[in-house]
Symmetry: C2
């Protein structure tokens, strides 16, 4: 199967499952609407699809990884809602739609984010009750660590702290590695752990995740300069306008593109270990630097 077909098929499956999981149990419909608005606002569903792909390296059962895959998308979505708030990035648009707080107000946007983070754990815990094997507990633990102060929240803290300040390249790397990389690694590792991966497999997927996460961020910075506002659903050139330090502002366009290609080559060497089973992940890593959204 080609990557585009695989993505399209799994995006449909993941979105149906998310829709099903988010059925309202709230007394106040506005919180449910606010959660659903951002959770079902499109997006590539990269994290859950990485979980499914990693699982298939070890012939995992897609039904077993699905709650964890959906939880990762919920955690990603909550982080976007909170990042967009006036006290953080103060963004009015995301994926071409008004941001959550512009539609539901700041109070409900904060609560919708809290609720999505919380729901991610509710879903994982139900999955652990259904199948309390240690590897699944380890997957939940890995995800929670990756989304905390040592991972995603830590990265957002670095971002907020350095807002409007000059940021050194090591810090820029650390910020992206935590803010974006940690959850991408967790998506791969969770799928692998649940499906019986060994320690050395986990290390391989961590390294692969670190590399594609970095390449993803470099290509984001490139797209901010070269991309189309229409396709991205947000204004391009905003990094330069906001005086934001990016890989492009450090290295220039040509060198950034070269770096992204080298990083992806290294990632592909790692995933080459799995031969044909790793072909989709290999193709995915190409897509990361060739995408236009």
């Amino acid at each position: 199967m080609r990557l585009s077909e695989y993505f399209s098929m799994n995006k449909t499956i993941v979105e149906a499952k998310l829709d099903n999981l988010i059925q309202s149990q709230a007394d106040i419909p506005v919180i449910h609407n606010a959660m659903k608005y951002s959770l079902l606002a499109g997006g590539k569903r990269l994290r859950p699809i990485l979980t499914i792909m990693a699982s298939s390296l070890f012939d995992g059962n897609v039904d077993e990884v699905m709650p964890f895959a959906c939880s990762l998308e919920m955690i990603h979505t909550y982080s976007l809602i909170h990042d967009d708030l006036p006290a953080m990035d103060n963004d009015d648009y995301r994926r071409g739609k008004l941001t959550n707080h512009k539609v539901f107000g700041e109070g409900f946007a904060i609560l919708a984010g809290d609720a999505l983070l919380n729901m991610a754990f509710e879903i994982m815990h139900q999955a652990l009750i259904d199948n309390p094997k240690l590897e699944n507990i380890k997957a939940a633990a890995y995800i929670s660590k990756a989304s905390g102060t040592q991972g995603m929240i830590g990265g957002q803290c670095i971002d907020l702290y350095y807002e409007g300040k000059c940021i050194d390249l090591n810090v820029l790397n650390a910020m992206h590695d935590k803010k974006t990389g940690a959850l991408i690694r967790a998506s791969l590792v969770a799928g692998a752990l649940i499906s019986g991966a060994k320690d050395e497999d986990v290390k391989r997927l961590e390294k692969f995740g670190q590399l594609i996460g970095l390449a993803f961020q470099i290509s984001d910075d490139i797209l901010d300069v070269e991309g189309s506002t229409e396709k991205l659903g947000k204004l391009t050139g905003s990094d330069a306008n906001n005086n934001k330090s990016t890989f492009v502002s450090y290295y220039g366009l040509a060198k950034s593109k070269e770096m992204a290609r080298d990083i992806i080559e290294e990632a592909q060497n790692i995933i080459g270990f799995y031969g044909d089973k790793g072909l989709l992940l290999k193709e995915l890593s190409n897509y990361i630097i060739e995408r236009d959204i």
Copy 2:
């Protein structure tokens, strides 16, 4: 042991454990400082102490329940930080100290709340790796459900939705039952589950928790009218000034006090089942309506 000694001793143990758990692993110290500021800002530590008390009904091991007890305090603390934000209750003081966002700014206050909620799950997951028994997973699941849209977040949504609006008594009850009651029930049930409670014990503790949670809220409303600003660490009379619906505004002071006493009597009948082992919980329920803070 008398209740006051028990509280004092366990408060010291819980706070030392919280202090230990919150050791910084963040690159940006401000997030660690913001988390610690609110987590170690005092308070009764009611929830973790309820977990320890419930555990002792079933001769539980305090070391086994401690991570869950501390997680409950982290979840409670995050909810206070987010509730105090300008987009929610917009409070400047909490327990006599400036609220989190007044000290660290709104962005870091939102992130500190997110990080405490997340850390609660990190800690529970590590405890589950250390001891992956099904009852402990069920305790984590119960806690996550109680803190979500069907529990605490749901209650906060009702509160925010009805801000400045007249609130009907059923809604007032539902709001408090979710906003405060759910986590109190979870504190008791988690301690019980981990320590080998049976289904009928869980039902008993849920009912006991529901009743003391309700009495706690009624006594809060009474304290807002009768309490001392100095002891409470926040302004009294604020409910009336904000036109807030409370049990006192519905029933008046005398009837509210009578209701609180009746509810506590019912709670004590339930806990009476455990004889001498339940004496501390019985004494605690008295304290709830007799406290002055």
